[in-house]
């Protein structure tokens, strides 16, 4: 067991740790990479203490300080933080764009619903009433998914309410937005335009 051999093992562990800390998206996995790096340093320190330092106890002392760092890092790593890459979640441009899209979709749906209500008040009935149901299904599914993507930035620990909203939105595929109803509406639209074309021909 030569010094070089132990140091090469420590270097290999450190390399794996660097890879993990740089590549992992989940915060907990990233932390595992950091711990592996600290662990490799402890191993290298142990080797230096045992094989080059002539048994000076301060080498072991330093390793204990490293272990403290590891424990402190672990404790704080487990604690949930509200910052991503040094910025609050809201300040990330991708998150802003997603919230922007959620807002635009919701407002567009609101306008459509108001227009259908307005048509109904005026006694004008059209395929719009069915289409707005289909469209609202699309919008809530898209918006709840965007919401999940934003919350996904917390790693894979997810707030239970977030994916409940997505599942609730999926239900509407069958209640209001399924393909059969879309085909029915399409048929009505085609029939309407055919009737209109016939009326024009007369």
């Amino acid at each position: 067991m030569s010094l070089e051999a132990v140091l090469v093992v420590a270097a290999a562990l450190f390399g794996i740790g660097v890879y993990g800390a740089l590549s992992q998206q989940s915060f907990v996995m990233l932390m595992m990479g950091l711990e592996m790096m600290i662990n490799a340093s402890i191993l290298a320190l142990g080797a230096f203490w045992s094989l080059t330092a002539g048994g000076n106890p301060q080498g072991q002392m330093l390793a204990i300080v490293f272990m403290t760092v590891m424990a402190a890092e672990m404790a704080l790593g487990f604690a949930k933080t509200h910052k991503r890459a040094g910025k609050a979640l809201m300040e990330h441009q991708l998150v802003q764009l997603k919230i922007n899209e959620m807002h635009a979709l919701t407002e567009a749906l609101r306008s459509y619903v108001m227009r259908v209500a307005w048509l109904h008040d005026r006694g004008q009935h059209s395929a719009n009433a069915g289409l707005v149901m289909n469209y609202s299904t699309d919008v809530i599914q898209r918006v709840t998914r965007l919401n999940m993507e934003i919350h996904g930035a917390e790693g894979c620990a997810m707030h239970a309410r977030v994916d409940k909203l997505v599942r609730d939105a999926m239900v509407w595929t069958h209640l209001a937005g399924d393909t059969v109803q879309r085909i029915k509406i399409l048929k009505r639209l085609v029939k309407g335009s055919a009737a209109a074309a016939g009326a024009n021909a007369d």
């Binding site: 067991m1 010094l3 070089e4 051999a5 132990v6 140091l7 090469v8 093992v9 270097a11 290999a12 562990l13 450190f14 390399g15 794996i16 740790g17 660097v18 890879y19 993990g20 740089l22 590549s23 998206q25 989940s26 907990v28 996995m29 595992m32 990479g33 711990e35 592996m36 662990n39 402890i42 191993l43 142990g46 080797a47 230096f48 203490w49 045992s50 094989l51 080059t52 330092a53 002539g54 048994g55 106890p57 301060q58 072991q60 390793a63 204990i64 300080v65 272990m67 403290t68 424990a71 402190a72 890092e73 672990m74 404790a75 704080l76 487990f78 604690a79 949930k80 894979c156 620990a157």
Partner: protein
């Protein structure tokens, strides 16, 4: 001679074990298994430390990591998706860069082990290492030891503060915000 052969064999066994399980941490489909692989890697490193004569350090490392990784495994089962590893898990970014940097750091650090001429002064009395460490901890390095203890305590307090539902500036569920500095206007940091 047979004694040092046995030590060498055990060292290579532990070395291979720690590197292989360390690699598996990032190649398994279940986070629970990742925690156990990391525990195995730590235990193998603890074994190498014991072989090097640092019995106390090695055993403390194993004990500490066993406790920590078991807690981690429980957290993984409770809060993380897919604890059984039934679906593939591949959550990486900048993968090529990460592989390149990892390999590069291994090559650089590994070559340093051969390029630098370290003094050869092996520990003369490894059997008294624990006693020497104790004297060091409660003698010359008392201040360092106590500082480490205070750092750990503050880390624990910090963790509790960060995880508590009620944050420093109100209910965390409400999205509490830090109050503005005195005299600062709305919209400034």
């Amino acid at each position: 001679v047979s004694d040092s052969l046995l030590v060498d064999a055990m060292f290579w066994l532990f070395a291979a074990g720690s590197v292989v399980t360390g690699y598996r941490v990032f190649r398994t489909d279940s986070m629970v298994r990742a925690a156990f692989f990391l525990l195995a890697s730590f235990a193998a490193v603890g074994g190498i430390l014991v072989l090097l004569g640092a019995e106390f350090l090695g055993m403390v490392l194993i004990l500490m990591m066993a406790g920590e990784m078991l807690i981690m495994a429980i957290v993984m089962v409770m809060y993380m998706m897919n604890p059984a590893g039934l679906n593939p898990m591949w959550m990486v970014h900048q993968h090529r860069v990460a592989v390149a940097v990892g390999v590069a750091s291994f090559l650089v650090l590994g070559s340093l082990a051969f390029l630098i001429d370290f003094p050869e002064r092996p520990n003369p009395r490894p059997e008294e290492a624990t006693a020497e460490l104790g004297v060091e901890l409660l003698g010359d390095s008392m201040l360092v030891f106590q500082s480490a203890g205070v750092a750990l305590l503050s880390a624990m307090i910090g963790a509790v503060v960060l995880t508590s539902r009620r944050g420093r500036y109100g209910d965390a569920e409400e999205g509490s915000e830090e109050p503005l500095l005195q005299g600062a206007e709305e919209g400034t940091v």
